[in-house]
Symmetry: C2
Subunit: 271 residues, 2 copies
Amino acid sequence: VLAALLNGVPIVDATHGVDAEDRGLQYGDGLFETMLLSAGAIRAFDDHLARLRAGCERLHIAMPDSDLVAQEIGALTRSCRNGIVKLTLTRGAGGRGYRADPALHSTRLLALYEFNPEHGPTPIVARWCTTRLARNPLLAGIKHLNRLEQVLAQNEWRDDAIAEGLMLDIEGELIGGTSSNVFAVTEGALCTPDLRFSGIRGVMREQVLRAARALGVAVEERALWPHDIDNASEVFVTNAVRGIRPVTALGEQRWPVGAMAHRLADSLRLW
Amino acid sequence: VLAALLNGVPIVDATHGVDAEDRGLQYGDGLFETMLLSAGAIRAFDDHLARLRAGCERLHIAMPDSDLVAQEIGALTRSCRNGIVKLTLTRGAGGRGYRADPALHSTRLLALYEFNPEHGPTPIVARWCTTRLARNPLLAGIKHLNRLEQVLAQNEWRDDAIAEGLMLDIEGELIGGTSSNVFAVTEGALCTPDLRFSGIRGVMREQVLRAARALGVAVEERALWPHDIDNASEVFVTNAVRGIRPVTALGEQRWPVGAMAHRLADSLRLW
């Protein structure tokens, strides 16, 4: 990490840290956003704030003032033009036991990481993960801190040539990559899992869907299964930091870098 | 909190805290144990260590040396005879991204809380929670840090007269209380959910099952449903800190403090 702010105050060394009773640590009781800092600005900042707000409403955590967050990100990134900014928001520190004191003040943690975005398409090799995702509509869509399934999934492989793993839920439905959303092009339509039971509504996913609709592309948010990938003419994954990455190999399957990914990346000025 | 040790070092104030990059905070990537300190000793310490070890194996986290843990608990509780000791073990601090560096050192956090155990049966009023538990055999049974479902369930009610909420999984199967395991006595048999998809294998649950078998009681670990509670002659909940608590009211239902709870509490010297 290059720099970090805890409730707006710089963390100067490792011993000045997060309260040991923080509920983020005790229970994963909180949310996070991973944002791209590009040419001195956060890409899709309003979309990140909107998802954070949706998560706060679902978990009944007070949403921090967005001007304050913007101001703290400004302070954090003053001497940096490109990188990753991670915001962690927890319900706050205090007490033992699952029930939260409603008077708790939430904890804001902002951290800046080095990152140099690639330009142009970055075709990737993906794999199927054996770790499955649980189903719970109450937690689906939001970017909460309960991420053991993704941790276990990413630890299934160590081969750096494989950039992403696709995950199914416990019923075998396709949900997405370990840290990305997935899109499949089938007969000209852009299909992506509807995430009604599992998964995260990625900020780039929402941008891609909006861009596709604006371009007049048929969009299907629905249940997808592995055979929908088998039958796709084009597959790509998205996330807020890495944008759109075409999947060109998955197991025995091969695809070209497709026209849909190009059109969407052009429209969103990603490549 | 009365006192806390972070990797064996006393936490002297709130600014000397946990590394902001700890994976426990980032992803709930870790485990915990909540233990009763009674008359200067941890009750069922070996069972707590055994469950922690099972969790470490499942999550591929290095199990800390048990003598070290015992020694640190001794230091933490030196001037205290009764209380609650909470051990939190995370995969360690470092990096961004779900994949863990295998060279990470795990983080041990020990905290001591005030608690005075009750003597004799403590009959409780329970309720049904609307928050459901997801199913994932990979995470079932162990006491990991991904606990948003329990947080949301306990925040469903604020009435202090209701001591526990019973939770179903998303298929409607009974799993347990928000912070306890549940037992139902039906035609003389002691029944408890098998926890194959969800829930935590409580240390007191294991002790109760062992005690019941030693007493020659018929024991059934199986799928339970709400109607199994409706039809039970006796219901109680268990956890490591509060032992066995008879449920005497749940919605419209009423039960007496039953003979099975008494026999098991006697056998385990709980009351």
